[in-house]
Symmetry: C2
DNA sequence: TTTATATCCTACTAAATTGGTAGGATTAAT
DNA sequence: ATTAATCCTACCAATTTAGTAGGATATAAA
């Protein structure tokens, strides 16, 4: 399951991407329209800014705007930022690799092979899920 | 990520499946050979017994044995038992459906569509990952 | 019948994670 | 000067995770 942080982050990013011409957009605006707690969302957007996914403008009429083209921001990146590894097992992630402590034979582990196949498929789809893609899906 | 409970459960089941002719197998034997804390594993096998996935035999030379053919026990079932929903969002699970509180338009949600596609693919693979399949993968 | 070795059952717990909240400082447009 | 934003620090309650402790009960074999 995605954490609420990740879900809220993606929702906020999609909202900003959709309102391309009104950027920057304030936290309070996103909070109201997306039903997300103001203060919690504030901390999420700060993390996105620190990760250089968003830009911020201070002061009146300030807010947040995308710091990259919407087809370069995808769900995999956001999930990794807030929730860490995407895979089912720590021993099949590239970015957060860790051996399973109890593991007897990693190379020959059947569960690991399955987890690896699922990770490959999942990451492929999450990388394809860019803001552009999500906005397109919702334009029906 | 799988919880340790789920991981230990699958490891234990695979171990029991592999030692088909020595059943029943005691918790202490599995605990030693799979590097899993005895008492914790005990509680896990109890849950598997309550879910009718394992059988137990009390007393000396007692232990646990499979309560179904190994090709009918798969990773999806074990994950759902210990970790609950498999999908990335509560709004795309069959068994544990819940609306996202903050959701504005579930039908038209792009993130949901992606989560649904990933769930379909993932569940398909987890259901194919039976004990028989896992044991076969490790017999190289 | 005693002993060894199993499961069964109840209760407890420390640490980490999750999903927030509170309050004020700073910055910038009008 | 006022208004409306972000920025920054600190705190917190509830839940989940990953166990541990200790004894009751059942059964095979000596």
């Amino acid at each position: 399951m995605l954490s609420k942080k990740t879900k809220y982050a993606i929702n906020a990013l999609v909202f900003i991407a959709k309102n391309k011409d009104e950027q920057p957009i304030s936290v309070s605006r996103i909070s109201e329209e997306q039903n997300i707690s103001l203060k919690f969302l504030e901390s999420i957007l700060t993390e996105l800014k620190n990760a250089r996914i968003l830009n911020s403008t201070k002061g009146k009429y300030g807010g947040y705007s995308l710091n990259a083209p919407p087809d370069e921001i995808n769900m995999a990146k956001i999930m990794r930022l807030f929730d860490g590894a995407i895979a089912l097992l720590p021993c099949v992630t590239y970015e957060f690799y860790e051996r399973c402590e109890e593991c007897v034979d990693e190379e020959n582990c059947g569960i690991r092979q399955i987890a690896m196949e699922i990770r490959n498929e999942t990451v492929k789809r999450l990388k394809a899920a860019t803001l552009t893609d999500i906005v397109k899906r919702e334009k029906i």
